[in-house]
């Protein structure tokens, strides 16, 4: 510790002007949790309307606003910032750096997020209502036929894209320049690896998204016709551009989740990760493949058969590195000494449910079969298995795993386990039946449905309410831990945890690694 070290500033200024990676990480995490609750509330509105056939609570136009905002807020407001928050907290502590490489930019990249989402949420109160064209905002529904609020939506996307790009540049700069002596790339914890690769994906595709929304802006206000056939453009061009961003985006969401799971499973198996190297290579392969599979979201737009075949084969290939990851996690557990604290339970939940989501993903990759699955509830079920049981479960696991380290207090284990089981049951009750209604022919994004889908929809709604309520238990548990949890002083917190972040005192002081640690040749820096 340097003798000039100081604690946080007092009052609101601490949060407004902070350049401390821990403070910024904390703000990201709280912000994303707030967005998670808001997006979750919208989901509750959706499920309440779908509880029974017929229109009961909201009008179809408002229902579309809910599905749109639910998707946008969950993807851009809840999941992505939560992993940036985790990266902020953990990357410096995992690679032995005192802070992120670009602390002032770090402050900016967080503080432009709340205004962007305020703007997005404010569209609900504008004339014509909020965007109602789905989170994929396909033209021309999102251009010629969009409500006036679309312009604010475009600006909001620009700002949060900017935030993501700044955050990513920061992660790349930090990982490349600030590793402690001896911390080679192949010694970095897997979470750092996945964040690094994710950051590269973000820098590559966020500008593409910005391009897409800018073209929309031009079409709406400046008389261009990028996406209008009447003026020589092509609505399908929008989908190509959107999914060239959108598919890597899916991995931007899931790769850090892989990283988290790769830290936690070895810790509670008390055994090193089975194939560290192959996990790094598998992550990189997934990142590469993510750029050449985008049109599998568009099998029904009428592509030439060569295109269909290319995108089908490329998409199927993703199963190989993803399989490598799942097999690695299971082999890590094999002949370990397992214990099942809350973080491990969420990781196991992740493992089972993400694998199911992977299976349905494989089914969806088969182009001819996709002609039946496409835009049905089967797809909704699939991506919630990978987004919620994948990203959200792993994020929850991460909070339970590292929170005691951060605040020096232990969460309530019984409550944590209860949270897991209610989430697990609620989640499956919500989304498993959606496979069935999808296969039976229920399209997605409809506010009302035919009578044969009624039973499963009611089941799904009940599950959603259970899952939603269980998140309040989580919120309570986290607050109770921070305020009055059982103090922990053990540096490692978990006996099986490995890595530099567990070598600093508990709770983690405001400044860590002001002098870089040395990572010797024989030291396991990763799990």
């Amino acid at each position: 510790m340097g003798d000039h070290h100081h604690g946080p500033a007092k009052g609101i200024g601490r949060w407004l002007f902070t350049t401390n990676h821990k403070d910024i990480g904390t703000m990201y995490l709280w912000f994303s949790f707030a967005m998670f609750l808001l997006g979750g509330f919208f989901a509750m509105v959706i499920r309440a309307e779908l509880f029974q056939p017929g229109m009961q609570l909201v009008e179809p136009a408002f229902f579309n606003q809910m599905t749109t905002l639910h998707g946008l807020i969950m993807v851009f407001g809840a999941i992505m910032p939560s992993f940036v928050g985790l990266a902020n907290w953990l990357i410096p502590m995992m690679i032995g750096a005192p802070d992120m490489a670009l602390p002032r930019m770090n402050n900016w990249s967080f503080w432009i997020l709340p205004p962007a989402f305020l703007l997005l949420a404010s569209t609900l109160f504008m004339e014509g209502g909020a965007p109602a064209f789905g989170w994929t905002f396909y033209a021309p529904l999102s251009t010629t036929y969009a409500p006036p609020s679309v312009t604010f939506f475009i600006f909001s996307i620009h700002v949060l894209g900017l935030s993501s790009i700044m955050g990513s540049i920061n992660i790349i700069a930090t990982v490349m320049n600030m590793r402690a002596p001896g911390m080679t790339y192949m010694k970095m914890p897997l979470f750092v690896w996945t964040c690094l690769i994710t950051a590269f994906l973000l820098v590559a595709v966020m500008p593409v998204l910005a391009g897409a929304v800018t073209m929309m802006l031009m079409d709406i206000h400046f008389g261009t016709s990028f996406f209008s056939a009447a003026g020589g453009g092509d609505p399908v061009l929008f989908q190509h551009i959107f999914w060239f961003f959108g598919h890597p985006e899916v991995y931007i969401i899931i790769l850090p989740a892989f990283g988290v799971v790769s830290q936690i499973i070895p810790a509670f198996s008390r055994k090193p990760l089975f194939g560290y190297d192959s996990m790094v290579y598998a992550t990189s392969s997934i990142a590469f493949l993510s750029f050449i599979v985008w049109a599998h979201h568009m099998y029904t737009v009428g592509m030439p058969i060569a295109g269909e075949l290319f995108f089908m084969y490329a998409t199927m290939l993703i199963a190989v590195p993803t399989g490598v990851k799942v097999f690695n996690w299971i082999t890590t557990m094999w002949r370990g000494a397992l214990s099942f604290e809350t973080p491990m339970l969420f990781c196991l939940g992740f493992l089972v449910l993400f694998t199911l989501g992977g299976f349905t993903g494989l089914m969806l990759s088969i182009a001819p079969a996709d002609f039946q699955y496409h835009d049905s509830y089967f797809v909704v079920a699939h991506f919630h298995y990978v987004m919620v049981a994948g990203a959200v479960f792993s994020m929850t696991a991460a909070i339970y795993f590292w929170l005691p380290k951060w605040c020096g207090r232990m969460y309530n284990e019984a409550m944590g386990k209860t949270h897991f089981w209610i989430s697990f049951i609620g989640f499956n009750l919500t989304f498993f039946p959606q496979h069935f209604v999808g296969l039976a022919g229920m399209p997605r994004r409809i506010p009302d449905y035919a009578l044969q889908f009624a039973d499963f929809n009611m089941m799904s709604s009940i599950g959603a309410f259970i899952y939603g309520a269980s998140q309040l238990l989580f919120l309570y548990n986290v607050i109770a831990t921070i305020v009055a949890g059982e103090p922990v002083s053990d540096e490692k917190v978990w006996d099986g945890a490995e890595g530099l972040e567990w070598t600093v005192p508990t709770p983690a002081p405001y400044h860590t690694f002001e002098e870089p640690p040395r990572v010797g040749p024989g030291v396991h820096a990763h799990g």
């Binding site: 021309p140 036929y145 000494a337 694998t355 089914m363 039946q372 049951i425 009750l429």
Partner: protein, 381 residues
């Protein structure tokens, strides 16, 4: 065994078993939980492909999860085991890269052949242009014998059922005023496009789903082997009433089809005759109400009170000169949800609905619009 059973219950299997039993109850009606093989050869191929992949996934899942649960049960710290320290094994890693790859190749073969069959768009016996509109479908038969036949297909479910004031019928939300009629055992080619935003024409039983894209035409063929009524829905979010634009296809025998086509052609001729006639206010009002209810009501409200669209009751357009009223109705208002109905409604229906709007909802303008006025307005453009 008891020990193992206890452990299993303790872990994930409790809820999984619960879920399984729920599924088992629901599985009584197979079609409500699985894809239907449908009534076409392609549909059966897709169904078989779906089942093959599903079973491959089930087998892989059983193997993977067995290993995992074995580990969860036997390799737990509470049993006092010492953790092994092994990691990295090139042999194992090559195996679990190569084996899945081989499985993927096995899957890719039938997938490719099915896809090639679906893309067989050779000369068909019958061509139908399918056009998506917000929020209805238009069907046009373009072969020689069906030259004159073209019609719109609107949702028939009344608002009272949707808003829960009447009991919902058996085909709630899956019924239309005019279904598409196709002859059985005939290769039909759909030429799918859209008028405004994207739509997607999906009939699960025909195994056809193709996006309807404004300005572009997609082709897809089908050959139905069993007569019957098949229902589907729009599958691409297309705005407010996306959930309310169903598709109904009646597949009938060749004879019935020919008879139906004859009727439709006669109807078209009749409309042509009607266009030359002059109608009374009552006739126009009666016809106009029917047209209004299936075309205008969704946006402008049952009593012209407005909604997504402007109010018609007391509106400056409906109570102003006839010319602008016809202009808006025929050509729509670009950049808004108000579509151009000139193509969708024949001149008789257009005259009737404009008259209805000008005289109903308390507007009482007292003027009549005749088909010839509509014709002249269109011609004058």
């Amino acid at each position: 065994m008891v020990f193992i059973a206890k452990q299993l219950c303790k872990l994930a299997l409790g809820p999984v078993l619960l879920l399984m039993s729920v599924i088992a109850v629901a599985a009584g009606d197979e079609s409500s939980i699985n894809m239907s093989p449908g009534v076409t050869e392609v549909g059966r191929q897709i169904y078989n492909l779906h089942m093959i992949i599903l079973w491959i996934c089930v087998v892989i899942g059983i193997v993977v999860f067995s290993v995992m649960f074995y580990s969860i049960i036997y390799h737990r710290k509470s049993r006092g085991v010492t953790p092994a320290t092994f990691h990295e094994s090139t042999k194992v890693e090559i195996a679990w890269t190569v084996v899945p790859f081989v499985i993927l190749v096995v899957m890719a073969v039938p997938a490719t052949t099915t896809l090639l069959d679906i893309y067989d768009n050779d000369e068909a016996d019958l061509d139908v242009i399918v056009t998506g509109y917000q929020w209805k479908w238009k069907y046009e038969y373009i072969n020689d014998e069906g030259e004159n036949v073209s019609f719109f297909s609107n949702l028939r479910t009344p608002q009272s059922e949707i808003y829960n004031t009447a009991k919902k019928g058996k085909n709630y939300l899956l019924e239309v005023d005019e279904p598409l009629v196709l002859p059985v055992d005939t290769k039909v080619r759909f030429l799918i496009t859209a008028n405004d935003v994207l739509h997607s024409w999906w009939v699960p039983q025909l195994a056809v789903k193709r996006d309807a894209i404004p300005g572009f035409i997609n082709e897809v063929t089908t050959r139905t082997s069993i007569e019957g009524t098949y229902r589907g829905q729009c599958a691409e979010l297309c705005g407010k009433s996306h959930g309310f634009m169903p598709i109904v296809v009646n597949v009938v025998s060749q004879e019935e089809y020919t008879e139906w086509l004859g009727e439709k052609q006669a109807e078209a001729t009749e409309i042509k005759d009607l266009m030359a006639q002059t109608f009374s206010l009552d006739d126009l009002m009666e016809r106009g109400k029917a047209v209004y209810d299936s075309n205008c009501l969704a946006c402008h409200g049952a009593n012209g009170e407005g909604g997504l669209g402007n109010a018609i009751a007391g509106s400056p357009i409906a109570t102003g000169p006839v010319g602008p009223h016809l202009e808006v109705s025929i050509n729509g208002v670009p950049g808004t949800a108000m579509q151009a109905f000139g193509e969708q409604l024949n001149d008789v229906d257009m005259a009737a609905v404009v008259t209805y709007q000008r005289n109903g909802f308390g507007n009482n303008m007292g003027d009549l619009v005749q088909p010839i006025d509509v014709y002249n307005h269109k011609k004058g453009q």
